[in-house]
């Protein structure tokens, strides 16, 4: 059965190819994504209503179009082909990280020089976002054919160890948030895909023991952020104020929220950069507890749905892809929301489909495209 692209249910023989395709496409997934994008745009409109930022809404819509095309592309090309090329892709991502390291533009001048961005044709691209996708595909490749008989944890861990390279490169950009997130994706997928969990337990413990070493190598501003998170009294930072204002914003929404465009914390810029890292605080202020829970529920449904696809996937490869995407989505949502609610330090982790920013948006479209891909090909051989 090799080489066949789309395999559609046999029961539909005689029905047009288009109708068969339509029947196979994962509509609930698309509906959830569209719902999230709509809410995200609504929120962005409110967040950037100030004259200074009104162009951001249009930019975001353009990126959504780009993302939708990416979604379609990621759905149509067989995921098995992509997994076969995964290591190559990771190599490409790593080389981009290197390029960004040496040639990249300074993104965030507040924290000294960082190397997160690559300028391609006037657009800023974050190679770390590409790295996330490639790591998921590599994970699928690593776990694709583990038979209990040929199970060799050493070889597996050896392959996984290569993933330390991109994580390390991202960490020294420095973009600690994305590095930790990548680590969490690898760990989560490992926990769910390894035949035995013990090797992953060991890796996790080793990672925890490495924390003091990581701490020592961290930049002062990063240490401050984390200290500031633990207690604003120890190290009062800008982030500390951000978190405080974010908590005020969320809390002030009370049960029903202040209403669309009525959030004073948002409208008058008390939470800085609220369209990228803090859109959830804007949402919570304007839509209250009810709206906040509804948004979380939509993400919950998305996760459940992706895991559902993982369970019903045709092969291990597809299943692991879905688990990886689910892990990525899960940690993005949890870290971002926890940060907004003041129970996690301020790290640059976006809220999928809601945060403003092309790189993050396109990455999630592509990731969901992969899930749709797996879902589309779950039937038949």
């Amino acid at each position: 059965m090799k080489g066949t692209g789309l395999l559609l249910p046999r029961a539909t023989v005689g029905v047009s190819r288009w109708r068969r395709f339509r029947a196979a496409v994962d509509w609930p997934l698309i509906v959830v994504i569209v719902a999230l994008c709509t809410l995200g745009l609504l929120n962005l409109y409110s967040a950037t209503r100030g004259v200074r930022h009104h162009a951001k809404f249009d930019t975001q819509v353009q990126w959504m179009v780009v993302g939708a095309i990416g979604f379609a592309a990621a759905t149509i090309v067989d995921y098995r082909t992509m997994v076969r090329l995964a290591w190559l892709g990771l190599g490409f991502a790593i080389s981009l990280l290197f390029v960004a390291r040496w040639l990249g533009s300074t993104g965030d001048s507040n924290h000294g020089i960082t190397y997160r961005w690559l300028n391609i044709g006037g657009m800023g691209i974050q190679p770390s976002e590409l790295a996330k996708l490639m790591v998921i595909l590599v994970l699928a490749s690593v776990f694709k054919d583990i038979e209990p008989s040929s199970y060799a944890p050493r070889r597996l861990l050896g392959q996984l160890a290569i993933l330390v390279v991109p994580i390390g490169l991202i960490a020294i950009q420095p973009d600690l948030g994305t590095a930790i997130l990548l680590g969490l994706i690898v760990l989560s997928t490992g926990f769910l895909a390894m035949p035995s969990v013990w090797p992953m337990v060991h890796v996790t413990l080793a990672g925890l023991l490495a924390i003091p070493i990581v701490w020592e190598t961290m930049h002062e501003y990063q240490q401050k952020r984390i200290l500031g998170f633990i207690d604003c009294g120890i190290a009062p930072t800008k982030e500390c104020w951000h978190t405080q204002q974010s908590i005020y914003a969320v809390g002030s929404g009370k049960i029903w929220g202040k209403g669309f465009l009525e959030g004073t914390q948002n409208q008058f810029n008390f939470v800085p950069e609220h369209w990228t890292d803090f859109p959830y605080s804007v949402w919570a202020e304007e839509w209250g507890f009810i709206g906040s829970v509804v948004l979380l529920a939509i993400f919950g449904f998305l996760l459940v749905w992706v895991l559902n696809v993982a369970l019903s996937a045709r092969d291990r490869m597809g299943s692991v892809i879905c688990v990886g995407v689910a892990a990525m989505t899960f940690w993005h949502v949890v870290v971002n929301v926890a940060m907004v609610l003041g129970i996690a330090p301020v790290v640059g982790v976006t809220l999928p489909f809601v945060s403003y920013g092309g790189s993050s948006l396109v990455t999630f479209f592509l990731a969901m495209g992969l899930v749709a891909n797996v879902s589309l090909r779950k039937h038949g051989y």
Binding site: P9, F191, L192, A193, M194, P195, V197, Q245, I247, Y248, A249, V250, G251, S252, G253, K254, I255, T264, Q265, Q267, F268, N269, F270, P272, A284, E285, G288, F289, S292, V293, L296, G300, F301, L303, V304, W305, L307, N308, A310, L311, S312, A313, R314, D315, R316, G318, S319, V320, V323, F330, V334, V337, A338, L341, G342, I343, K378, H379, G380, Y381
Partner: protein, 644 residues
Amino acid sequence: MLIRQSSGPGSGNGPALPELHRRLKWVAVIGIGALVVLIGRLWQLQVMRGEGYYERTVSNVVKERYLPSVRGKILDRHGVALADNRPAFNIYATPRQMTPAVKAELVRMLGLSDDEITKIDERLEVGRKRDSRAAIVILEDQGRDRAALVEQSLARLPGIEVHHEPYRYYPQGDLAAHMIGYMTQMTAVEADRLGNQGYDTSELIGRYGLEDKWENYLRGKKGTERYAVDARGQRLDDATASALIQGERGVPAVPGANLVLTIDVELQRLAEKAVSRTAASAVVVVEPSTGKIRAIVSKPSFDPNIMTGHLTQAEETMLKQDPRKPFIDKALRMTYPPGSIFKFATAIAALEDAQAAEDENMFCTGQYQLSGTVFRCHGTHGKVNLLQAIQHSCDTYFWKLSERTGLDRIAEVASEYGLGRPTNLGLNGDAGGRIPTKEWYERTSHYKVGYATNAAIGQGDVEVTVLQMAMAYAALGNGGKLYVPQVVDRLEAHDGRTITRYEPQVARQMKTPSSALDIWLRGMWKVTNEPGGTAFEHGHVELVPVMGKTGTAEVKKHHKQDDEDVERWNPNAAHAWFAGWAPRENPEIVIVVLVEHGGPGGTVAWPIAKQILEGYFTKIRTPPLRMPEPAARPAAAPARKDVR
């Protein structure tokens, strides 16, 4: 759950990833756990603490600002303003937003002087201690140009505001400055103390004179204004603000009450002009029938307009180093030996006790000996009776009287006339001074007979204020009523309605019998109206019968190089006094003039009093008097036996 334990059709070999199936429970536990934590936190923030955070976000955007109340005016008896308000531009800054960059920009833009920069720094320091987020005045009463410059660049100057507010000013300049007083920004200590009385750190408060004493009536009640700002502190437009602010947009300010004085600006100006050639002096003009002060002068003076916020360091140092002490009110804060104008106490004490008589003659050889000490009279008067002794101001006669009366009797009469005790005007530290008694001397050192000799002519340890003397002479002139001096006639609301009218207050009725008083009064008449009188020799008022007494109070000699730098002011010269009234019967005004270190009373103080009296009767009094026909004068001249 949506996750079904189903395998896709065609995948007959069981699930693709059996590990996932086995560990689904964990996935569920972690997923639901995370959800519970996040929703729990949301519940805590939004439902449990939501109300509190809501208030916080409101206070983030809704700010409150004091609306200055219009300070009450200070008016003279005819409604002429002595202290008023005019519009001015005040530049405010929020200390928290005042970064060095903002300050540098402000300094560059306005070309601020070092003095102004120091002032700004001091004020910001005070502001920071109180509430670093509340805007305070850093530069008050700025010109239109500066205000416009700042207003154009507000975008580059976060936290800086320009407000158009009433500003205190004194249209008469330094006229009656000591009485009116001035205002200054409060100190850090005061800011702490007055903060809970509704004062704002940046406010000016009355610092001296009436501005200080009547602060609570003049200041009115501040209003508040609520407005909305964004995160950078920029004010939001009115429509947005209305939507955000629930309830009152603010409370309007209540203007302060106007103070209507008993002072007559024209008379005050006349008196100040009369002393303009002196280096340091004081004048009090009182209405003897009520105790109302009509003019009160203390020289050297200061311009309250400069004192109110515009005083530079250099000017302040200069004023503080002036040996003439311009900040001390010489009419009621400084005490001086009264010299011969005090002799009424000695004369009345002796007459009351029948130890003196009008026609008793004594002989003045120019000196007087008492237990080995020689006292020198200022002239050799030969044979004089009491009236002549008053007329020529013969000290010997009073020295001899003091032998009979003793110190305590003189002190008793002086005290009865209110000398040596604060007058209860209650302004500028209304001083008491001192009327020494035997007991006082025993308490401080040891009593000697010579002390009474000195006190009899208002020297030695006798110390009084100009105002006390004015009230005492008013009592002499009005037949024996000692009034409490009064400078505020009434309190008016800003619409002109009278709130409180202050009635004249009699402190005491004198016990002096009219026979004794009459003898003293006839002596006074001779001083100003008969040849040989210490005042008559230096001028005579033709217009109206004037009563008076001159005084020349010797001062303790001291030599301080610095003090002699001031022109026409020799700290070793005697104080020149004049006290008197006009007309003789039913006097309209009592006038006391002191010229500090001016010299003889007759040559220095009397001409000043004469100038004021003539000016009063020809220009200020209604109706004004005309120069009398020569024939009319003798009719007023005969002495009267009884004075009301």
